[in-house]
């Protein structure tokens, strides 16, 4: 599944579009950045409620496929402009992190 397909399957909001053809390899949920640095794998969808610009740096360092801000969280301006310059997929959903993860797992299983 690509990021584009995931976006359509879950009806995600697009805050910033990067490479939407990137392959989704699974997911990781977390708000503490060093846990994400240590545990997220290349191509993962990162579900988080953190919305400051360090999130973009972590996305770049871990080679994840996209960030999904859950619980209706909106990115702050600095994060948004960071994602634009770095061409990072930054998406959003009103779902809780748990619900979004469950939907992601379902979409990946199909």
């Amino acid at each position: 599944m690509t990021v584009r397909e995931l976006k359509e399957a879950l009806g995600l909001t697009v805050f910033c579009a990067g490479n939407e053809d990137a392959e989704v390899t699974g997911g990781y949920c977390g708000d503490l950045l060093s846990w994400v640095m240590g545990r997220a794998e290349e191509g993962n969808v990162w579900l988080t409620i953190m919305s400051n610009q360090n999130v973009a740096a972590v996305a770049v360092m871990t080679d994840i496929s996209c960030i999904v801000l859950t619980e209706g969280v909106k990115p702050d301006d600095a994060l948004l402009s960071r994602c634009e310059t770095e061409e990072i997929n930054l998406l959003g959903t009103g779902l809780s992190t748990y619900q979004a993860a469950a939907e992601l797992a379902k979409a990946l299983a199909e």
Binding site: L33, S34, M50, V60
Partner: protein
């Protein structure tokens, strides 16, 4: 062939913008054609170390030396030093302040991540003088 060296001043005053040296290193390594798993490990090691210099030591100097067989990252600061390295290396140990916590730092996982993603890691620290963290990632 001579080593390729990149050097960066890491500004300790801005928690938000931290990570510039690591981003730049990552893009340099991509241009040099290193495999993505090597670049990823260097990025994780360097970013964690760079953030530590910013949030714990008011910045410093980051140096990346690309040799024939390995990439060495040297992070040198004049911060407070680390009184107990064994404790600092434990998962979950952190002295990060509230400002760092608000941004998502302070889980106490940075040093363990650096250890795991590097082939060799050395911490040279003197309380009251500063810390130098050296990490090596083999490329052959």
């Amino acid at each position: 062939m001579a080593d390729i060296v990149f050097e960066y001043q890491v500004d300790g005053s801005d928690y938000h913008r931290a990570g510039e040296a690591s981003r730049s290193t990552k893009s340099n390594l991509k241009k040099l054609g290193f495999p993505s798993d090597i670049i990823r490990r260097v990025g994780i090691c360097m970013y964690e170390g760079e953030i530590n210099m910013v949030i714990h030591a008011d910045g410093g100097v980051a140096k990346v030396v690309i040799g024939l067989d390995d990439i060495t990252i040297i992070l040198k600061d004049k911060g407070p030093g680390i009184p107990n390295i064994d404790l600092a290396m434990q998962e979950g140990w952190s002295t990060a302040d509230a400002q760092a916590n608000d941004l998502g730092f302070g889980a106490g996982m940075g040093l363990p991540n650096m250890k795991r993603c590097s082939d060799e890691m050395n911490i040279d620290t003197v309380v009251g003088e500063g810390t130098t963290v050296t990490m090596k990632i083999k490329t052959k």
